[in-house]
């Protein structure tokens, strides 16, 4: 392949423990307004004190159910929203460590080259009135990287990298299937050779036989371009497949972080256990072994007292109703927010 990351950092790529993104106590509250004057009557705590870090070259999976704040977290990192509080530190290859929410317009544009996003719905994320050349070439034009025939060459190369034919460049998105559209979205995200790619549910809108193709493509591209992924998804089997580490979210907070295998095989938080247990088993032999969680996801506008999970938790004790458990490190690299993490013997996924 002739496409090479512009800012090749062989030293950094060789040190996978290097941190690329550090999120510290990130909060995003959305106001609930009511009445003629738009009086604020409450707040939706979409993201409520989230901290994690991603190392260069790794994939961090962010899982949780709808409304848990995982997409809001992704958008905060993209600076689609301004956070209510907290820091998002990014190790830019040219600027060094920067705090994304405080950057001015000029610097933000420089940083944006290095953080790109792949969207969930390939039908609404591509402009139907632009050709593939315009869609994939736009980031290159905006950042003054290429134009004219050079731009065409670059776009052709990018299309080839994601498994599309360069001749498709003159066509419009409507001519493509969902899987192909997602490839177009990936080509656009990779056009500027980003360091970090935020993937927001990149396969959940695709057909089952296409999901595997896109997952394989994402893995190949990661290897080829030394990409770092923040992989937001609700499908646990997809997250297990692609992630090195996993962060589990519930009602705006992280409840568990750790290596994928550890989290999936020996969960420490009851919510992780329930989430894993609720996934339909892949064979009729294990029928009826699902864990059925009672109740519904708590509202982030009016969360319960103490541990947010306690009304649904089968292991809840009096302390859980009163005291909010902090996210604490119980083993090296293993964080959990549960008072009873040490005493509980929770069931993971059977191998």
């Amino acid at each position: 392949m002739t496409v090479q990351p512009e800012t090749v950092q062989p030293a950094a790529a060789a040190r996978p423990s290097d941190e690329l993104l550090v999120v510290k106590d990130l909060k995003k509250y959305f106001p609930i307004r009511k009445g003629f004057f738009g009086r604020m009557v409450g707040q939706v705590r979409a993201v409520d004190g989230v901290s994690f870090s991603i190392c260069r070259g790794e994939t961090l999976g962010l899982v949780g159910e709808s409304g848990c704040g995982k997409t809001t977290t992704a958008r905060l990192i993209m600076r689609g929203y301004e956070p209510t509080a907290g820091e998002i530190l990014f190790n830019d290859p040219n600027l060094g460590w920067v705090n994304i929410p405080t950057l001015d317009k000029k610097r933000m544009k420089q940083v944006r080259r290095n953080i790109q996003m792949i969207f969930q719905d390939p039908y609404s994320s591509l402009n139907p009135r632009m050709t593939l050349l315009q869609i994939v070439g736009e980031p290159l034009l905006v950042h003054g990287v290429a134009k004219g025939s050079e731009l065409r060459d670059r776009v052709a190369e990018l299309l080839r990298v994601v498994g599309l034919r360069p001749e498709y460049m003159v066509r419009y998105p409507h001519a493509f299937s969902g899987g192909q559209r997602q490839r177009i979205g990936i080509a656009r995200a990779l056009a500027l050779h980003p360091q970090l790619v935020v993937c927001d549910e990149p396969v959940s809108a695709l057909d089952v036989s296409i999901q595997a193709q896109i997952l394989n493509l994402l893995q190949d591209l990661q290897e080829q371009f030394h990409l770092t992924y923040l992989f937001v998804a609700h499908d646990l089997s997809v997250v297990e497949h692609i992630s090195d580490r996993v962060a589990v979210m519930y009602v705006g907070k992280l409840v568990e972080v750790g290596e994928t295998e550890q989290v999936f095989h020996q969960p420490l938080h009851p919510y992780t256990e329930a989430l894993l247990g609720a996934v339909p088993k892949p064979h009729p032999r294990y029928r009826g072994k699902q864990i059925i969680l009672k109740g519904e996801v708590a509202s982030p506008a009016n969360p319960p007292s103490g541990c947010y999970f306690h009304p649904r938790c089968p292991y809840a004790v009096e302390r859980c109703r009163v005291e909010t458990p902090p996210l604490r490190e119980v083993q090296p690299g293993r964080l959990v927010s549960c008072h009873r993490a040490e005493e509980l013997q929770l069931q993971g996924v059977a191998v």
Partner: protein, 364 residues
């Protein structure tokens, strides 16, 4: 006779229809779909959405229909209820509904061919929503936003059963309690937007089951739901099936849901059934390359991550240009020119059929 209708037993060729004739004596047979063809006549050409599908649904059992988008699974269900949207039309085949009637202490079974009924006529309307109920994928889209939940349940009850308003309301509250909605006396006067996704799907199930149907068709009932809610809804459906004894036809693209719910499975690809078998048999011994590929391509919990998935190459062909011969041959790793031109629907085991010329040669 279409090429796909033959099966081979002990070297002698037998049509699947002949097999049906011998099997349809079972008293538990509820619905029999024979060589159903539903086409859509569009300006761009004819889409053979369902192109010769046959299967049976038995009383109290669950049939799973699995396939990707565009394979015709939803149109099959719509054909049964005669709600195929225009310009779709049923152009061939039969859908025999075995209706049980109690008269003078004895039970009579009458056979009704649903394809022969007037889609707006009296008879299908007495079946639709009453004896055969339907749950749609997106609960918000199938509920009216301007009517209360109670109004929508009472409408069904009063349409099909001779009861007054008060009695209908009492039954509605009863039904809402049955599907596990908390405080049904209050929920009944709520509007759909006041309920969460899981509660809405429970309300939709309550509407569907309010007339105690003998068949419940559930079209992707959990696709729009979160995984913990999905587990709740699937458990609820199993429980209600146990209590009410209805048959369920569950349509999904999720093989996990099939593994949890189905007794028998039909796998569809581009308007044809490519394989059907009892659920354990299908998962243990899939005989069609498409079924095998589907089972292999999906990441499964508990498997070692970071390995490459065995993806199915290519994409589902566009419905206007379905490949000639075996429709799957463009993506099939076992494709052999000359052999795969007209795959027969082979019986490969007890109650197990696969539409593949090489079904018996595939290694385990």
């Amino acid at each position: 006779m279409a090429y796909g209708q033959y099966r081979v037993i002990d070297g002698s060729v037998q049509t699947r229809d002949m097999a049906h004739a011998t099997r349809s004596t079972s008293p538990d047979l509820l619905l029999e779909v024979r060589d159903l063809k539903t086409y859509f006549f569009l300006d761009e050409g004819t889409v053979r959405a369902v192109d010769g599908v046959s299967f049976e649904v038995f009383r109290g059992r669950t049939l799973g229909i699995v396939g990707e988008s565009g394979c015709g699974k939803s149109v099959t269900a719509q054909s049964i209820l005669r709600i195929v949207p225009r310009p779709g039309k049923i152009v061939g085949g039969e859908i025999i509904y075995y209706r049980r009637r109690r008269r003078d202490g004895s039970t009579l079974t009458e056979q009704i061919d649903l394809t022969k009924l007037d889609p707006t006529g009296e008879e299908i309307r007495s079946i639709r929503g009453n004896e055969i109920a339907y749950i749609f994928q997106e609960p918000m889209a199938s509920l009216s936003p301007v009517h209360t939940i109670g109004h929508q349940i009472c409408e069904v009850i009063m349409l099909h059963q001779k009861v007054n308003k008060r009695e209908a309301r009492a039954r509605a509250i009863d039904m809402l309690a049955r599907v596990g909605l908390p405080q049904p006396e209050q929920v009944i006067d709520r509007y759909p937007h006041q309920l969460s996704g899981g509660m809405r799907q429970r309300a939709v199930i309550a509407i569907a089951l309010s007339c105690r149907p003998s068949l419940l068709i559930a079209d992707e009932p959990t696709t729009a739901l979160d995984v913990t809610t999905e587990a709740q809804i699937l458990a609820l459906m199993r429980e209600l099936q146990r209590d009410f004894g209805m048959a369920i036809m569950i349509i999904t693209h999720n093989l996990g849901v099939i593994a949890e719910m189905a007794d028998d499975v039909v796998v569809m690809y581009l308007g044809k059934e490519v394989e059907q078998a009892p659920v354990e048999e299908l998962f243990d011994n899939p005989r069609h390359p498409y079924t095998r590929a589907l089972l292999r391509s999906i990441p499964k919990l508990g498997r070692k991550s970071r390995t490459r998935l065995e993806a199915i190459e290519g994409m589902v062909p566009d419905p206007f240009s379905v490949p000639a011969g075996c429709a799957f041959h463009t993506r099939c790793r076992y494709y052999t020119p000359g052999i795969c031109d007209a795959p027969p629907y082979l019986q490969v085991g007890p109650k197990h059929w696969a539409r593949c010329s090489r079904a018996m040669e595939l290694d385990k």
